[in-house]
């Protein structure tokens, strides 16, 4: 099982790198779907979660459904309604972004290694992946102009936080009602953002955030 965990984590890391290098918004949504499924699968494979009741199993199925199907589906619908397919002229170029991604990974390794954080053993790779995902999400939000990429960056950030939440804390704290509430917030959040995206596109004929510059001091 240990190897399986590591494989999942490596896939998550790869998805992060791919998303930084990809210029097609459709591909980006697909990558997010894969990442969502991987993130939801991971807690199932961790050792201290092995004694899970039927409630837990149902919850994880719902989570895969929401993170892997519903949220990417919503993003896909939003993408279909707007005519933009590609991110043209990002603030930071694709090669530079990829390079930044590698630096982020190195920094995460450094943070996990050097700080000697007191935490459950055997989770070093996991903490590193989580920190990378969170930072890359931030990076994506800041380095792209299109509003939809910012939503994707936010989702990536949330995935990273979720990794820390489920994987590092003990199973005994997991109350599925609470976890479900978090997921529901995320889902509704993406829906609200999708509606605003649609309105931005309607009002400005584009979803470039540079157009949103009317309110200033």
């Amino acid at each position: 099982m240990k190897n399986m965990n590591d494989i999942l984590l490596v896939v998550i890391l790869l998805s992060v790198l791919l998303s930084l290098a990809s210029n097609s918004l459709g591909t980006l949504v697909k990558i997010m779907a894969v990442q969502g499924v991987m993130v939801s699968l991971l807690p199932l494979l961790l050792e201290h979660h092995s004694s899970m009741g039927s409630g837990g199993l149902i919850f994880f199925q719902v989570m895969i459904l929401i993170k892997g199907v519903l949220i990417p589906g919503l993003l896909y619908i939003a993408l279909k309604r707007i005519s933009i397919r590609r991110e043209i002229e990002p603030i930071v170029g694709y090669h530079a972004s990829l390079f930044a991604g590698l630096i982020i990974i190195l920094l995460s390794v450094f943070i996990t290694d050097k700080l000697h954080l007191s935490m459950p053993s055997g989770h070093e790779l996991l903490l590193m992946t989580a920190i990378t995902t969170i930072s890359a999400g931030f990076f994506l939000m800041m380095s792209r102009r299109k509003a939809i990429t910012q939503v994707i960056g936010y989702l990536m950030l949330e995935n990273g936080i979720y990794l820390i939440g489920t994987a590092l804390t003990k199973h005994s704290h997991t109350v599925y009602v609470v976890e479900f509430g978090v997921l529901l917030d995320l889902l509704v959040g993406v829906m609200v953002m999708g509606i605003i995206l649609h309105n931005i596109n309607h009002a400005f004929d584009d979803i470039d955030t540079d157009l949103l510059n009317r309110l200033k001091d």
Binding site: I161, G165, K170, V178, G189, N199, F204, R214, D217
Partner: protein, 475 residues
């Protein structure tokens, strides 16, 4: 059952979204009255908690709940008249989202489980976004986008903070259920390093929502673009709810013996917010933005007071109550001005005293109150915070505090006198309706009354709130 306090507005809110707008307005006011009644019943201890794992009746939560409920009641009276006079499409969205907003905020005040608290605060962002977008202009769209994105990202960091706090239980191998009540009991045993990291993330996260600088960027836009009743609710109730999140974790830090660490962080954010607000309020061309910056300043004052602790903490809690009352009154008066002149620009407004004497009186009195002059409560609370700061030897902080207050007073005074007494401009719409004029007066007089006479139950609740964090009332 205590949970009714948030279930009632949530359910009626959902119903209101689908029924016609004229019925929705009726539901809004009935639900507001029922909510106030339920709140009073909870204060009298008549409502037992059903889901004890997630919810509890805490003194700080009850204070915020009472303020929220009272303000909402006044705003709902105002909103009925206001929405009839403004043109919006999808009118039933307004009362529906107002009620959902009330429901989620009430949930924040009752939450005892950190993640439930987080869920409720994130939900307030989502249900209030349509309120900001009510007018459907390009500016409103931009404000809504900023609000949803900045607050969601900020609050996501607070979730990370909550997870770190959970981790501090696991590392220390303490076996308790995850709730603030049980965390407070074992605070000394928790892992201090992860608690500190958790607190930093929680302050950044909920601080974003509370409007602390430098994470305040969404606040002036959202407050100026939302319809005035919604702005009043955002400023008077929502900011308090976010503050409650920070305050609960600060309490935990204090009990864990890390009060100085968390206090200093709060002092830093508080002073920065006050200073930034003071700079931006000078020469502000838009009076609703002016009020929004004043909210940032006041949240800074509260964070500063809580950070200092002791006598200043008492001042901070008082400040929270009075700021809510006065600021929501000001936003309602600003709404009356907006209806009369159809502009948010200070330059295009003049002669309030001549054309709208009643609104002038509430707006000017509100300005006097928010500037910290007697007979309003902010005079007392700021005085207490200042005394507390001097007692504990925060000389630099106290001086910067006074300087920022002066900046804000200067900026606001210029704007308010300009709007009230210059005689060049004419209003486009002439009537002052009773329903729109009375609520600001009720809110203002509540602040005056609380200054001279505070109900015993309320005083005791404040004492219970601050006692646990080392707050005192005898300087």
């Amino acid at each position: 059952m205590l949970e009714l306090i948030f279930l009632l507005p949530m359910l009626t809110g959902l119903v209101t979204l689908v029924i016609p707008a004229y019925l929705g307005r009726g539901v809004l006011i009935v639900a507001a009255i029922l909510h106030l009644q339920l709140t009073v019943m909870a204060w009298l201890g008549k409502l037992p908690v059903y889901a004890e794992r997630f919810f509890a009746q805490t003194p700080e939560g009850m204070l915020v709940l009472l303020v929220t409920s009272f303000i909402f009641f006044c705003i709902s009276i105002y909103a009925i008249s206001y929405m009839q006079e403004t043109e919006v499409s999808n009118e039933q969205v307004f009362p529906g989202c107002m009620l959902l907003f009330l429901g989620t905020m009430s949930m924040v005040t009752l939450a005892d489980h950190p993640i439930v608290l987080w869920i409720a605060i994130e939900a307030t962002t989502l249900v209030s976004a349509p309120l900001i977008f009510m007018h459907r202009s390009k500016e409103a769209l931009e404000a809504t986008w900023k609000y949803v994105l900045v607050c969601s990202v900020g609050i996501a960091l607070a979730l990370l903070g909550c997870f770190f706090i959970t981790l501090s239980i696991d590392i220390a191998e303490v076996d308790i259920s995850l709730s603030f009540t049980s965390l407070n009991q074992v605070a000394m045993q928790l892992d201090p390093m992860w608690l500190k990291v958790g607190f930093i993330f929680v302050v950044i996260g909920f601080g974003t929502k509370m409007g602390l600088a430098p994470m305040h960027t969404w606040l002036p836009d959202a407050h100026s673009q939302a319809p005035s009743p919604a702005s009043a609710l955002l400023s008077g109730a929502l900011l308090n709810c976010a503050f409650l999140g920070v305050y609960k974790v600060h309490t935990l830090m204090y009990l864990a013996g890390l009060g100085e660490f968390s206090g200093n962080i709060l002092i830093g954010f508080g002073l920065l917010s006050m200073f930034v607000a003071g700079i931006f309020i000078l020469k502000q061309p838009d009076y609703k933005r002016m009020l929004a910056y004043s909210s940032i300043e006041n949240m800074g004052v509260i964070a500063f007071g809580v950070g200092i602790g002791g006598f200043a903490l008492y001042g901070a809690i008082l400040h929270m109550i009075h700021h809510s009352l006065i600021k929501s009154s000001l936003f309602l008066s600003a709404g009356n001005i907006l209806l009369g002149f159809n502009t948010k620009l200070v330059d295009r407004i003049g002669g309030l005293i001549k054309y709208f004497p009643k609104t002038f009186l509430s707006f000017f009195a509100g300005f006097v109150g928010i500037s910290g002059l007697p007979p309003f409560g902010i005079f007392l609370s700021e005085l207490f915070i200042l005394i507390g700061a001097f007692q504990t030897g925060h000389w630099f902080g106290a001086v910067l505090f006074m300087f920022s207050l002066l900046l804000v007073l200067a900026g606001a005074a210029q704007i308010v006198t300009d709007m009230s007494f210059s005689t060049e401009e004419q209003p486009t719409f002439g009537r002052e309706k009773l329903l729109r004029v009375v609520p600001p007066y009720i809110l203002l007089s509540a602040s005056v009354v609380l200054c001279v006479w505070m109900p015993g139950a309320m005083f005791n609740t404040i004492i219970n709130t601050i006692k646990i964090v080392g707050g005192v009332i005898h300087g």
